[in-house]
């Protein structure tokens, strides 16, 4: 048998106050936002996948032929009556240009990050930080245009040929991913605790030894993440690359021969095909490859991050 005062107390405690209602509201709003984004992502993946798979289901292209075929010409059928949709040249072009630009950008990016963070934090903060941020803000069409009017003629003058090709694309992409990799590397170095450096210096290590043996080692997972992020950006960049690569769907036989990437074929081709046709479906298949690769890059970044935390 409850007394009257406990009943009152119970009522008071069980009443939904304004604060409790607001709490529910807040949770609902943020959950809705989250669900919306998840829905959009799932929808995009589902759409691209359904379109991309159509090449293999309704047009009966062999997946192996698609991934390993060297000839891309969806308008023409070959001697066996099969359409020529070999995506290997584009896949190779995309990977080559991504890996090359990452290889060129990484030493510059890490060097800059070390200077900004370890050697001269003042100058780094005053000069390099704004410059890096500025580089991020330049639209890719401007990069492409500079590539077209400066890099391509220079390549042509030095190596002959047309100047269009993987080399020019690498030069442009390297500058484009440099700020991303640099600022992420700088963050990775910043997250190395100060007491690591102090411990090393107090043991008589020089500053360079401290950077090389302690700071860079401790920051390795973060630096790897930075490079993979840069690669993901390079892999997905379309416009600037398309302007300087030459857009010939051929296996690149040298770094200065015109070739193409997944993205450049997509941007040049998608406007000129009819929805539902083989030509259109084949492009969607390329988009699917691109999307899957982006997911793989994301997966790698997460794996590195998890490994870094375990250490």
């Amino acid at each position: 048998m409850k007394t009257k005062t406990t009943q009152q107390l119970e009522q008071q405690l069980k009443r939904h106050s304004k604060a409790a209602k607001l709490e529910i509201w807040g949770r609902t709003i943020s959950l809705t936002a989250l669900l919306l984004i998840v829905a959009v992502v799932v929808a995009i993946i589902g759409f691209v996948a359904s379109k991309g798979i159509a090449t293999f289901t309704s047009n009966h292209v062999n997946l192996g032929d698609f991934l390993t075929g060297k000839s891309w010409n969806p308008n023409i059928t070959d001697a066996n009556g099969k359409p020529e949709v070999g995506a290997l040249p584009m896949i190779v072009g995309s990977f080559l240009i991504t890996i090359l630009s990452a290889i060129v950008a990484t030493p510059f990016a890490i060097g800059t990050a070390v200077f900004m963070n370890e050697i001269s934090p003042n100058k780094g903060a005053k000069i390099l930080q704004p410059v890096t941020e500025l580089l991020v803000g330049i639209p890719s069409v401007v990069y492409g245009f500079i590539g077209l009017s400066v890099v391509v003629p220079t390549t042509r003058a030095i190596f002959g040929g047309s100047g269009f090709g993987i080399l020019s694309g690498t030069c442009v992409l390297f500058v484009m991913i440099l700020p991303t990799v640099t600022s992420m590397s700088a963050d990775a170095l910043k997250s190395v605790p100060r007491y690591y450096r102090e411990a090393s210096l107090a043991l008589g290590a020089t500053q360079w030894q401290t950077i090389y043996k302690v700071v860079l080692r401790a920051a390795t997972p973060g630096l790897m993440t930075a490079v993979v992020f840069g690669m993901a950006r390079a892999f997905g960049e379309a416009l600037a690359v398309q302007m300087v690569i030459g857009n010939a769907a051929l296996m690149p036989n040298s770094l200065v021969s015109p070739s193409s990437t997944l993205t450049s074929v997509l941007t040049t081709g998608i406007g000129n095909t009819v929805m539902g046709s083989l030509q259109n479906n084949a492009l969607w298949s390329l988009a699917l490859v691109l999307l899957l690769m982006s997911l793989v890059f994301n997966l790698i970044i997460r794996l590195i991050g998890r490994k870094g935390r375990l250490q």
Binding site: P193, Y196, E198, A199, A202, L203, G204, A218, Q311
Partner: protein, 274 residues
């Protein structure tokens, strides 16, 4: 505990009372003359003239912000890129506070252990071998031997001898701090500077650490900053009291704790402020 609560003699108190250690038996190994430290334009240490006898433990005590850590960090020039340090730091007759001094060579002789245990994310073995390898020691046999003696001196060997290849980050706070001491003494320094080494440790680890320091005294000269007055009283021969960037009192530890000559010291050691 010998804590002085006699404040009635206040009239006889002095402004400043510094008695440098007796040279006999423990020759002066390190001393500072006219040491001033500036952070930018702000002066953090106005006056720090102290002498330290070899194979002794000297405690630096005082309230937070009194300049004792700043003073300690200046002694092996860890303040180089952070603050401006003027004055002389005489180490065995050489002024080590001059640009011509190779700080890396000097820091091998004047080692330091920090407040927070800071082992590298490497194995226990590699932590201790770190400085030796930087110096070009590659002989496995020699490294093994130094790792073992350093860990034994730091009283950690028995606990970790089977786990030398395990990550140092898995050690407990007290063990990690003793690893840091082992790492510092692996290069066989002359002087060991400790900046509140026990402040992050529990009482048991603290008492083990104090025992270790008392053992290490045979081989090293130890200068320790501490917030814990009982600790200073337990382990040190000499104690310097810092307040507001000045050394107000320096004398034998028993003198400082039983018969302080400066009012502020008396207040501080009797727990009236700080």
């Amino acid at each position: 505990m010998f804590i002085n609560n006699d404040v009635t003699r206040a009239t006889a108190m002095q402004e400043r009372h510094v008695v440098q250690p007796n040279d006999a038996g423990h020759p002066i190994i390190l001393s500072t003359e006219g040491l001033h430290v500036f952070y930018g334009k702000k002066e953090a240490l106005f006056e720090g003239d102290l002498q330290f006898g070899s194979n002794q433990i000297t405690a630096l005590i005082g309230p937070s912000g009194s300049g004792k850590s700043t003073y300690l960090r200046s002694l092996n020039r860890m303040n180089d890129r952070i603050a401006t340090v003027t004055g002389k730091i005489m180490y065995r007759g050489v002024d080590i506070n001059q640009p011509a001094i190779d700080v890396y060579e000097m820091r091998r002789r004047v080692g330091m252990v920090f407040q927070r245990p800071n082992p590298f994310a490497k194995s226990i073995y590699d932590n201790i071998a770190f400085a030796l390898r930087l110096r070009g020691t590659t002989d496995k046999h020699e490294l093994d031997e130094i790792v073992e003696t350093s860990l034994k001196q730091a009283a950690l060997w028995d606990q970790v001898k089977d786990d030398l290849n395990k990550s140092a980050l898995a050690l407990s706070g007290g063990q990690a701090q003793r690893l840091c001491i082992a790492r510092a003494i692996a290069v066989k320094p002359d002087i060991l500077l400790l900046d509140e080494p026990a402040s992050a440790l529990d009482p048991v680890s603290t008492s083990q650490l104090e025992d270790t320091l008392l053992d290490l005294k045979q081989h090293y000269t130890i200068i320790i900053v501490t917030h814990n007055m009982q600790q200073a009283a337990r382990i040190s021969e000499y104690t310097a009291f810092f307040n507001q960037g000045r050394v107000l009192e320096y004398d034998t530890t028993s003198q400082i704790f039983t018969n302080p000559q400066v009012q502020v010291t008396s207040d501080y050691v009797s727990g009236n402020f700080g």
